[in-house]
Symmetry: D2
Subunit: 243 residues, 4 copies
């Protein structure tokens, strides 16, 4: 099994994202119909900076549901099954993940950086990955030889490691993304899901800065670390530390 690098691509974003959020916010408090205002939002008659300022202000006041109207779809490869297991626990999202039962020709794996940095660990890890490949191949062959051809993948996959690479298409709306980033960009999160979240955030920031420029771990908005001192990473002081 060869090693695989993380890659996060942004496939799709709701078009006119800022204007759509602006329109949704406005519809809540406005007597008119936003569909009538829509052309003026798109042609710039109502300036983008005006839209962005309004959106920032309402968001700051705690009214965040209108950002749900905009969704981001990412294609992600080079994450481990351990990481995808954490990802799919976020329930307000849609996932299409590569099936290990059907797809078997590209058995690659994710190498944890802490292991990569220690030559002895890296060597041991890589030797084990060869053992995995051998065990998978042997079991597959035995199963086929014993008449279980169509399900050989399904059973042999039980030897595949948590490190096994997977690919996934993920769609989340902006509210769900903000929540996801607040948890997974934190130093307490596992390195891999954090690296993935960080790349997702960079792409979101470029696309829709009004919503994402201040996104990230909760400390970035709060100005202090909400964790107990035991878990604090030190970037910001905790409340107990006089934040």
């Amino acid at each position: 099994m060869p090693e695989k690098e993380l890659r996060v691509d942004l496939l799709s974003v709701t078009p006119h994202a800022l204007s759509l959020i602006y329109a949704a916010f406005r519809q809540c408090y406005h007597a008119g119909f936003v569909a009538d205002m829509w052309p003026r939002l798109l042609n710039g008659e109502i300036e983008r900076e005006v839209q962005a300022d309004f959106v920032r202000k309402v968001l700051d006041s705690g009214h965040d549901s209108p950002v749900e109207h905009v969704s981001f779809t990412y294609a992600i490869e080079g994450i481990s099954r351990a990481c995808s297991h954490q990802l799919v626990r976020h329930r307000i999202a849609s996932y299409s993940q590569q099936s290990q039962r059907y797809v078997t020709d590209s058995m690659e794996y994710v190498l944890p950086p802490a292991i990569a940095r220690i030559p002895e660990a890296k060597k041991r890890f890589e030797r084990f990955m060869e053992e995995v490949g051998a065990a998978y191949g042997d079991l597959h062959d035995i199963l086929v030889a014993n008449g279980r051809k169509s399900k050989a993948n399904e059973d042999a996959r039980f030897v595949l490691p948590q490190a096994a690479e997977t690919k996934i298409v993920v769609t989340m709306n902006c509210r769900s993304l903000l929540h996801f980033f607040s948890l997974r960009c934190c130093m307490r999160a596992q390195w891999e899901v954090r690296a993935m979240a960080q790349q997702m955030l960079e792409l979101a920031k470029k696309e829709l800065p009004a919503i994402f420029e201040t996104a990230g771990a909760r400390c970035e908005q709060l100005g202090y670390c909400p964790e107990s001192p035991k878990f604090a990473c030190g970037k910001y002081p905790t409340r107990e530390q006089g934040a």
Copy 2:
């Protein structure tokens, strides 16, 4: 209070909707990374008809979660509060609705067609709407005169009728829309939510026929009416009627 007509506008759809669904389906069963296939989907190297056929086939097999990656955002006006109450019961969706607490200058109402068709009923209905306007105005004035200015709208709105018109921005993904149409395009649904659902469906069909051309009430897919004979509208026979 003047009458108001239903209007449904499609503000936004996930771009490259068909290709995105195709890509998500493919990622489940494909060894490669869909981000590598993405340019060929967009430039037509993989033809749209090929994409549509594949999507239709997988949907028919019951695998429908990948259609969640595509969402539609509608702006709707001219529906009653009775109708919006039914709409927002669909939980896999995002809503931004005009607030009756904040917006009060445009008190309009929805006139049920069955009432509109009977002159005596229509007259009685319209007379009542004038009584509503008077009661709202009187209460508002009394509350302001008694020092409750900032909340006068909030309290006076208790006299507004279910017929009171509202505006709402709604985002649903395709899976949620298909479910919504299956229930709300049925003749058992109330006329108003059905009229709204029907307009939403027409816009969805035009935009993404591969997913929506066969959408609608459940009978349209099943070829029979799944309701008990007591509730059947007669368009299709029920199972008891030998469907």
Copy 3:
């Protein structure tokens, strides 16, 4: 239409609620199987106070998903349709609401306290409610006389006011309840949904103090008001006010 008072009954709570949350928390970090520990949780071998302390500590650390395993089911009557419309916007919950299309014999209404306190307003409100009853009756009769018997309720209900009383059965898990209370027990919330939320919270506190004793508006946990000064009720200082 006669007036109706708010009443909130607790029909059902997940049994062994505290122990269930404790067990779910423990399963995350414990090598053994919680089903083996379960009898000792129920028979008090692991003391309730020990369970409560553990649960409080983990909750404080921000790990709140295990409280989802416990749900509360309330039966609520004496709320207006305006209030139920706000309630059902909370999507992580289950609702069974009295249908205005089917149930029509008990047309009662909710009287806003601010209106009740001003005799002139109360009188105007009550007179309007009589007009509603008359309009509903007239329209119903006209529709029946014109051959629309089975749908007469459905159409005539368009004149019913936002004040119209409704009854609803609501189930929410503890995480959703905590979120609901944080928004709806705030003085910024409308008086009616706040009164209802407050009664729900009292019942929850009695049943499961370890989870709910500090629940309520966000200020109660934060020790300051997270709203902008413009919206602050004054119970706690805002951050701008030096909190």
Copy 4:
């Protein structure tokens, strides 16, 4: 790593489950308040069989949301990480899963039955599990020796197999359970998730037969197999086969 057997325990069910569902259904169509009817439901004045008949009839008519008021909490051990990954994809549910980052002393695994039945395969599988244990131990020691003590588990776990046993506490409401059973009790589902679903269903049937006696794969309700002939297991004919 030693082998581990599947075990499913029912920790908790919403009390008075049948009566609660009955009450919720009734509230939709009944003029009175179900809280007033509640004592007569519990003391048997309204007989259980009457309640069950009513619930079955409404469910058959397609109105299924009131069953959401009742939830089941299961504790499950002896499933693989492959299986738990499939389980947690069901989003309308709550999960508390044993963390591989924190819990490491009980490294056990799930042995697929098809492998267990072939002595050569079983031997190869067991030999590989020893290699896993060795690799995990080696990596853990190397990481600790290189100063990465607190995160040694987190990194070493990348070698753990999909077969690695996990424990999880799961809460689902009845509507979500019915959907889960319809998909996962089907012969198309993977053997392991099917075995788990089957045990969950048996416990649910015993507890609440009115809801679950006809639950299971979709064919059990439909009387035919909704899959294409290619995927049909043969228990029921498909529509193409003249069902």
